[in-house]
């Protein structure tokens, strides 16, 4: 088997074990640390699957969130979660585990024979051919890619997104959109083709921080200092 695939399976097992411990342990601090371990596993998976942007973001966000959560946990007085264990959540967790194992087995092991009618691992739905027809500027003749094994959508970007100065000028003279010419494909998508999405995401973060301030601000605490039950 592919060594990358083996590594991915090992990481998947590690992450499953970590999330199970995080759910089941009584100690809040160990639970938070297990969540952090799952996050780092996710980051490694992103890196192995060829998404360094996502891996970087995941790792730094995970570090920051872990620091904040550990601070919150160690400043609380009660360190353990003492509610009685319910049978239903455990059963649901086991059921979800079984479904996940079945899907992983169906995808990875029987994929060569087309088992479970799933696409082969590493063969994205939005392949080069589909992407090239979407990204081709209006007016440019229909692209006919060679019928090779579709591997990534990066080829389509190389064809339409990166052009030399003369080609770009010719495109602008024909009133076509200019190629972004960024060597990082992800940023070209996030901040040029789909910049609206990124504006919405930035708005979400802004509103979330305003919400945190509204909850934690001093004025509200002073006004309700007498009767607020904040825990």
């Amino acid at each position: 088997m592919d060594p990358v695939l083996l590594l991915l399976l090992a990481l998947l097992g590690f992450m499953l074990a970590g999330s199970l411990i995080a759910v089941e342990t009584r100690d809040l601090l160990s639970s938070v640390i297990c969540v952090g371990a799952v996050g780092f596993g996710t980051s490694l998976v992103f890196l192995l699957l060829g998404a360094p942007d996502l891996a970087l973001t995941q790792v730094v966000v995970e570090i920051l969130i872990l620091v904040v959560l550990v601070r919150v946990i160690i400043t609380r007085r009660d360190k353990t979660y003492t509610a009685s264990r319910a049978t239903l959540p455990v059963g649901l967790v086991l059921l979800a585990l079984g479904v996940m194992a079945a899907i992983v087995f169906g995808t990875l092991v029987t994929a060569e024979e087309g088992g479970l009618q799933m696409r082969r691992f590493g063969d994205p739905l939005l392949n080069e051919q589909a992407e090239a027809s979407i990204m081709a500027p209006v007016g440019e003749p229909e692209v006919a890619l060679t019928k090779t094994e579709p591997r990534s959508i990066g080829g389509a970007y190389l064809k339409h997104g990166v052009k030399s100065a003369e080609e770009a000028e010719a495109q602008v003279a024909k009133h076509l959109p200019k190629p972004p010419n960024a060597s990082n494909y992800v940023m070209a998508i996030l901040l040029d083709f789909r910049a609206y999405d990124t504006l919405g995401e930035a708005t979400v973060i802004f509103v979330a921080i305003i919400g945190v301030y509204a909850i934690l601000r001093k004025v509200g605490r002073i006004r309700h200092a007498g009767n607020v039950a904040d825990r």
Binding site: D53, L56, T57, R71, V162, N181, V186, D192, Y213, R217
Partner: protein, 152 residues
């Protein structure tokens, strides 16, 4: 929240500059290498959080104040919106109308680097203000009711 031990403080003095440098690199070169405004901003915020954790909130109140973080958050958002409205210069929202330049150079890709810087400032300042809000307001609460045994 007092600062930590002298060992932590000295190591923070050594490391914080490099963390900030890496964050700035990730933001500025987002359109050339993996990275970008969001991850670079989080790296910057983590460096500042390290400084706040090591030296205590006293430093935070003099240098990295709450108001400055709020200001950075709002300015980053406004700068990104300004980039979006700049597109009206070419007729539409979010049109990349600056020259594209040569692929792989720092000065390329039109408005993408400017958007990256805006998002970097916004995310860095926003996450820092979040942490400072948790730290400072917790301390305030602990002062209010010091009999509950909570430390700041």
């Amino acid at each position: 929240m007092q600062g930590m031990s002298p060992i932590v403080k000295n190591i923070t003095r050594l490391v914080a500059g490099f963390i900030a440098l890496y964050g700035a690199y990730t933001v500025l070169y987002g359109h050339v290498t993996p990275g970008g405004g969001f991850s670079g901003g989080v790296v910057l915020a983590s460096g500042l959080v390290l400084v706040v954790l090591a030296f205590g909130v006293g430093l935070e109140q003099s240098v990295l104040s709450d108001a400055a973080a709020k200001l950075g958050d709002s300015l980053g958002a406004l700068l990104f919106l300004a980039v979006a409205f700049l597109g009206y210069g070419a007729g539409m929202f979010f049109v990349n109308l600056l020259p594209s330049g040569e692929t792989g150079r720092l000065a390329s890709a039109g408005t993408i680097p400017i958007s990256n810087i805006a998002i970097g400032i916004k995310v860095g300042a926003g996450l820092l203000s979040l942490f400072v809000a948790l730290a400072v307001f917790r301390r305030y609460r602990a002062e209010q009711r010091s009999d509950t045994g909570m430390e700041a």
